[in-house]
């Protein structure tokens, strides 16, 4: 057996580990499959490695150590709301009575689950000023798609099939136009004005009897509050269109302003952002879709229906929702139909509701206030050494630009982002929104302390100064990570997307 120097940069694949005879005995041996099915229906071999549990534990523990999460450090990823994920959420979501509940459990035997969904739905409706939500969609983009399908069906029912244009500001998330295209809508991209906002005048130019939906994010992806959104809503409504609110930035508005009050007819939430559901490395998410009263019938199925229960025993103090019995309502003829197999990413509904319980109305208001305060605090400090193209009060996030720095030193936004990784911090969102050159989009969230923010500001300042002294050093970053910058071109040109036995 050869002895090799331990190389922390390398990690063997699970397929290169394991040996026959190392299987774990989780279940008993079964009779041969040929006792049950003809050989022609069975597979010849199953080429998976057998690993002892210890090997598997070590393998994935090592992989976890090669992964950066909020639990390891500051995560100022704009538009993603990477705030602390309270562990009570997970403890509640993984309770046996939730985790082992089959989706076809009869309603009468799943009242607790339905009550969770009902309470969450009612809370969101109140918080965002919508008539109702469906908890059916699986993530933000999925809920966007649901909302646009609702709009499409609504117009179809009204005989307004000519409405095929969706207006999307140039600062919008990429999912907005992509979702619109999946509903057969044509996308009109609207330029932002010099204030970084959608202008009422500009939008009026593109409105007409072919307008279906105007999609807006408020605050927008520059972190700026669209202070004319209610006037835009008026103009869109006057033209017969619907207003859609992209709730990706909802962490900035709770208890402050409601999309319903701003004139939005449709909206989605990324509860995995705003309501502290762990992102889990890119999902699962949870994307409730909300609508104003005239669109409730179109919501995806099922929705939870509450009916008053027989009177409770006297004297017992109960929450309002305890006075109802609940059922899943599938009988909704105008509905766009289901967006997914089962009712909701239910475990996430549990987490979101636990977070709402932890905060209440006042707490949620405070969440948004502190998210905005933290963002503005970082903004004014960062403005001392980096360009901030929109130097005014922002909401929960702001954009900085490395354009000047790049001209001066050659150091790009990408280099700054990579240098931050060497300091144990996640990089901000880069090169988005597309209208800001060399963009760094920074969202600190409310859960970070002033000390963490100050540390981030100091590190960022140091990187910018280093860029001026020694740009090559910044361009070489990261150097402390398990691997350096990866060859993305090679990855795309010579795709290697899976392990091959022969490649050993």
């Amino acid at each position: 057996m050869s002895t090799q120097t331990f190389d922390r940069t390398q990690s063997p694949l699970i397929f290169d580990l394991g040996k026959d005879g190392r299987a774990n005995r989780y279940v008993e041996e079964a009779r041969p499959t040929t006792d049950f099915l003809p050989k022609s229906l069975l597979r010849d071999e199953l080429p998976l490695p057998d690993n002892s549990e210890l090997e598997v534990i070590r393998h994935f523990t090592k992989l976890s150590q090669r992964t950066f999460g909020i639990d390891l450090g500051f995560y100022p990823l704009g538009s993603c709301t990477m705030k602390y994920n309270p562990r009570i959420n997970d403890a509640m979501a993984t309770k046996r009575e939730f985790a082992q509940l089959h989706p076809y459990t009869p309603d009468a035997l799943a009242q607790g689950a339905l009550q969770v969904m009902y309470e969450l739905e009612r809370s969101l409706a109140s918080l965002f000023g919508m008539a109702a939500f469906s908890l059916n969609p699986s993530a933000g983009a999925h809920a966007e798609l649901a909302a646009l399908l609702i709009a499409k069906k609504y117009f179809k029912d009204r005989g307004e099939t000519k409405r095929d244009k969706v207006i999307v500001p140039d600062t919008a998330h990429g999912t907005n136009p992509a979702s619109a295209a999946m509903c057969g809508f044509k996308v009109i991209s609207l330029p932002s004005d010099e204030r970084g906002r959608v202008s009422v005048e500009e939008i009026k130019k593109v409105l007409g009897d072919d307008t279906a939906v105007c999609m807006m994010t408020n605050p927008n992806t520059l972190g700026l509050f669209e202070d004319h959104s209610h006037e835009i809503a008026q103009a869109v409504h006057d033209a017969g269109g619907l207003m859609y609110y992209d709730g990706a930035n909802a962490n900035a508005i709770m208890g402050n302003v409601r999309p319903g009050d701003m004139g939005f007819d449709l909206m989605h939430l990324n509860t995995h952002k705003t309501f502290t559901i762990p992102h889990g490395g890119g999902g699962a998410g949870h994307g409730p879709v909300g609508v104003a009263a005239h669109l409730v019938d179109y919501l995806p199925t099922p929705v939870v229906r509450a009916t008053p229960a027989p009177a409770q025993a006297t004297g017992e103090k109960v929450a309002p929702s305890d006075r109802y019995t609940f059922s899943l309502d599938f009988d909704r003829p105008k509905s766009i139909g289901p967006m997914r197999s089962f009712w909701s990413n239910f475990a996430h509904a549990v987490r979101a509701l636990a977070y709402i319980y932890a905060n209440g109305a006042d707490g949620l208001k405070k969440v948004s206030q502190l998210a905005v305060l933290n963002a503005n605090y970082v903004r004014v400090k960062v403005a001392e050494f980096l360009e901030t193209p929109y130097p005014e009060i922002c909401r929960h996030e702001f954009v900085a630009s490395a354009q000047e720095l790049k001209k001066e030193t050659g150091v790009k936004a990408l280099d700054i982002a990579k240098a931050l990784l060497d300091h144990g911090m996640m990089a901000p969102t880069m090169y988005f929104p597309l209208i800001v050159p060399e963009c760094l989009m920074i969202e600190p969230t409310e859960t970070e302390s002033k000390e963490t923010l100050d540390q981030f500001i100091a590190v960022l300042r140091e990187i910018v100064e280093e860029a001026k002294r020694n740009p090559q050093a910044v361009m070489a970053a990261p150097v402390t990570t398990v691997v350096g910058r990866v060859d993305e071109t090679r990855a795309a040109r010579q795709p290697n997307l899976k392990w091959e036995a022969t490649a050993g």
């Binding site: 082992q100 999902g283 605090y377």
Partner: protein, 441 residues
């Protein structure tokens, strides 16, 4: 901090036009200290009495053994609190795990490539259909009526948006898709794809045979295989072996909790021919600048954040954490464990089938070979029989009349490695009493 920002108060910081200011207090549940949150959810949990019933529910969500090591690993904060691994240098672990997931799915399905996951099995079918629509430009879909009705409903939701028509293939008396109808239909050369599920919704093994596979190929129709019970992949012939070009499915069975319906994890795999049409994230193996092995999100020019309205899909967040759980499950089970679980599912479901069909007044509806679900005809309204079983603390299965009017006396029953002979006995005793009473009337 307010001073640094130059505002006097938080209210001033979040000032909005009067026209849109909040008018009334919010109707939100009251804030509770943490120990009371736990009590509140315990209250909800106790109302989910169904978890303690003997259950034969399946139909797209399955009860399987999940080793505790899965939770130990998957709940590590590094995995749990990471975002999508855009910054490869600090995400090598998660990227490698996704690469391993993609590899496992390819090994299980026999396909060339697999993506990093989609929302669930039903959306996987919808996204797989879109791949086919983009592949040949046709505007119609052909699906077997033996595919999970939820999957077909979701496909319809998506197709309504895309203005794509769906035609359905009938089911034979044996409980498999009518392949003669299939051959006739694809001959029109108007369908982008034909989708068939194996095991199908009734539990039956339901694949293309050689002549129908040839007819599908000849017609330029993309054959899509649907797998809603992933455990079957461990023992059944791969979808690739009977000609599927795209395989879509649900991997909840790989260690992911039933959780009243989600989150689960959909997968999409295909031949390499469809590589640039596959939706969502893909992880590729490459090198870093010092030529060390490294993993990275790749072929991103397909995706919404680059391509916007011309993307292959709008998907952004997927089901990475559930895919991680499934990957850990597969690593723990290995070929031996996965084979044994699959074989036990075959065994237990046959024990169930034998016991139930021995009753007077209950018969197996279909004759086709099945995996771990059976359709039992009780010759009286299934909903009533299920209600009576429920009174005896048994969830006997799913009433097929909910989707198939002609099967309103039929119950879809599932048995897995966790189903005990005691549970089967309890069911047959209760069911025997219920159907016998009726049979004697």
């Amino acid at each position: 901090m307010l001073d640094a920002v130059g505002v006097g108060s938080l209210e001033e910081l979040l000032k909005v036009p009067d026209a849109v200011a909040l008018k009334a207090p919010l109707d939100i549940v009251p804030a509770l200290p943490e120990y009371q949150i736990a009590r509140r959810f315990e209250h909800f949990a106790k109302k989910n009495t169904g978890v303690d019933y003997i259950s034969f529910l399946g139909a797209g969500s399955y009860r399987h053994y999940a080793p505790p090591a899965i939770g130990t690993l998957a709940m590590r904060g590094e995995f749990l609190t990471a975002y999508t691994p855009y910054q490869a240098e600090v995400s090598q672990g998660y990227l490698q795990a996704i690469y391993e997931w993609q590899s496992y799915i390819c090994l299980l399905t026999g396909m060339d490539i697999a993506n990093a996951s989609v929302y669930d099995g039903a959306t996987a079918l919808a996204e797989g259909a879109i791949m086919a629509l983009n592949a040949n430009g046709r505007k119609k879909m052909l699906v077997s009526r033996a595919i999970d009705p939820n999957y077909r409903a979701v496909l319809k939701t998506y197709c309504d948006g895309l203005e794509v028509e769906i035609d359905e293939l009938p089911v034979n008396a044996d409980g498999t898709t009518d392949l003669d109808s299939l051959k006739d239909a694809v001959a029109s050369k108007t369908y982008a794809a034909v989708a068939i599920a194996s095991p199908n919704f009734f539990g039956n093994i339901d694949t293309l045979d050689a002549s129908s596979a040839a007819a599908v190929k000849e017609s330029g129709t993309v054959p899509i295989a649907v797998v809603s019970e992933a455990i079957a992949l461990g023992v059944l012939a791969t979808p690739a072996s009977w000609g599927a070009e795209i395989v879509v499915g649900e991997a909840q069975s790989f260690g992911v909790a039933m959780a009243y319906g989600g989150p689960y994890v959909g997968f999409i795999a295909s031949t390499s021919e469809h590589m640039r049409r596959i939706p969502g994230r893909l992880v590729g193996k490459t090198v870093d600048k010092e030529n060390r092995t490294a993993y990275v999100l790749t072929l991103q020019a397909r995706e919404q954040h680059i391509r916007r309205e011309r993307a292959t899909s709008n998907i952004c967040t997927n089901q990475a954490h559930c895919a991680l759980i499934a990957t850990i499950y597969l690593a723990l089970m290995g070929k031996t464990g996965l084979h044994d679980v699959g074989a036990l599912n075959l065994q237990r479901s046959r024990e169930l089938a034998t016991a139930v069909s021995s009753l007077d007044g209950a018969d197996l509806k279909f004759t086709a070979p099945f995996f771990n679900e059976i359709v039992v005809d009780v010759h009286q309204p299934a909903s009533e029989v299920l209600a009576k079983l429920q009174e005896r603390n048994i969830l006997g299965g799913v009433d097929l009349g909910r989707w198939y009017p002609e099967l309103s006396t039929c119950i879809l029953m599932n048995a897995t490695e966790l189903t005990t002979s005691g549970e089967i006995e309890a069911l047959t005793t209760a069911l025997g009493e219920i159907v016998r009473v009726h049979a004697n009337v």
